[in-house]
Subunit: 280 residues, 2 copies
DNA sequence: ATTGCGGAGTGGTATGACCACTATCGCTCA
DNA sequence: TGAGCGATAGTGGTCATACCACTCCGCAAT
């Protein structure tokens, strides 16, 4: 347990001056105040990744509100991937990589974002990431990318695992870029696209070509050629988009043109299994 | 198979999808199942922006779970900006632009995203948006941008309102780009940066220069010169970043009360040593 | 016809009680 | 003495219930 002020249960003395760290909430929606409080503690550095929060009951007491309200606030933060609850153990600040919130996926369905727009967004982000990686990648980063490239080549006969390694490579590039924000945004877009891709990957026809492009991108980054890396990444993603589009066209049973029809119909096309992607 | 009798927005008897829209939940965390159910309804097109959801009590009944659980799920979706609850009225699907989730701001504080990285992310997104806008902006979009430009010029003497119009211009460009996903991502980054900006805008020294750049960007977009628009946007954002950096440095002197910058924690870095035994 | 009021329905919060899970410590047993 | 194990307390997860505050809409009094 950390000493985040709020006085850990059995430490009446230790620096517990900060018991007032959680001040009693004022007006406004109670549950939102919980989120705000936690956010401010994070921003002030009192709460850091891996830290354990006080129990819900303790928090409710300190904040002067009921446990359900506290719970709701914590659940919201948990859904955002900011913290993580373990049944019977406690609530902890998320330590791993930013959770791929399903936010974009929901917004995409709600507002009818088109698949083309999604691919375009991904292209914008990843091309930039490739360029940055070419400038900043460390040897360690390069090693990660090289391994991912090798793995993709090794799984050309297994589309499913190929997709996993494909994402692993792109994530390695994102990490190498040195910009975690852009990398996070890419993760969001990728996660939103994932469900669509798993359906078409089975029929993908350019796996080997795609793997070769990974290798080309990697080599450009290794050679510190930003322009070349960006060009290669552009070509790679355009191929992926074309593949997807053609497969989708071949698969569709009904007629639904336009921009939003494809995505929405696509996503809930058939039963899908929720699997954790991206073992980072 | 439970019928929920979705009440559509203004059509009392609109295709009362009285079928198995909401099925009883099976395994897994109950509250997550609520989110999943709603998500699938959105993705299947059953729920659209502006629609009204059944009451929480009804939902709880139909789903076979308690109201608090339903509430928690709805609150999560509400926090994501997917839906919106109105006290005494009901819960509705969000119709407006995607709410600026504070997700990035939280992740930024938690993982120590640097301000430079944030500006870099913004630059990547907005430069692309400017390029797309130059290719796709309609007359209506151009009018919106022109108005925003005029407003910025008109508020050169009022930094606070200037900041509002500044954001309005950038949003107009985002809309004109025709890519709502990238626009949404930009909104997220902008929202995360906002708190930092309001602190320095008071001392901003290049307001007029900034406004002139807006005008230049607008003219490039209007002339369909994508490259020029992107170049101008790059210069504009680089100026903003330099301004912010210098102002932040200038503020080092003393304490400015109230809530400090959201990124103070990052600045401190590893200063705070883990005093208690870590939970890791 | 207009106005005002109140009831019905909705989301917001609180209380209290269980349940399920986990970690830990002390106990039993070899 | 040591190792295995079971009771136990603490945690998050869920639920039922009640009450409050707000919104809407219709009915009644003007």
């Amino acid at each position: 347990m950390i000493n985040i002020g709020l006085a850990m249960r059995n430490a009446p003395n230790a620096k517990s001056v900060s018991t007032k760290m959680f001040k009693r909430l004022g007006e406004g929606v109670t549950t939102d105040q919980v989120v705000k409080q936690i956010r401010e503690l994070i921003e002030s550095g009192e709460l850091r990744p891996g830290d354990r929060l006080p129990s819900e009951r303790t928090l409710a007491d300190r904040l002067g509100i009921s446990r359900p309200s506290v719970r709701t606030g914590l659940r919201i933060l948990s859904a955002m991937g900011v913290l993580q609850s373990r049944h019977g153990s406690g609530t902890f600040m998320s330590s791993g990589p930013p959770a791929e919130s399903q936010l974009l996926r929901l917004l995409a369905a709600l507002h009818g974002f088109s698949a083309d727009a999604m691919f375009e967004a991904r292209r914008i982000l990843e091309v930039s990431l490739a360029g940055l990686a070419a400038e900043r990648a460390t040897d360690e980063h390069l090693a990660m990318m090289a391994e991912a490239v090798a793995d993709t080549y090794a799984s050309l006969d297994d589309p499913k695992s190929y997709l996993v390694y494909d994402m692993q490579f792109h994530r390695a590039v994102a990490v190498a870029s040195g910009n975690p924000i852009v990398a996070t945004l890419m993760d969001m877009v990728t996660a939103a696209l994932y469900e669509m891709k798993v359906q078409t990957i089975e029929h993908a026809t350019h796996l080997e070509e795609s793997a070769a492009m990974h290798r080309k991108i990697y080599q450009a980054i290794r050679a510190r050629k930003a322009d070349a890396a960006m060009t290669a990444m552009t070509a790679h993603l355009e191929l992926a988009q074309r593949d997807f589009a053609s497969e989708e066209a071949a698969e569709k049973d009904g007629s639904h043109g336009g921009k939003n029809g494809g995505f929405r119909a696509r996503v809930n096309g058939r039963k899908r299994k929720r699997s954790s992607k991206g073992a980072s």
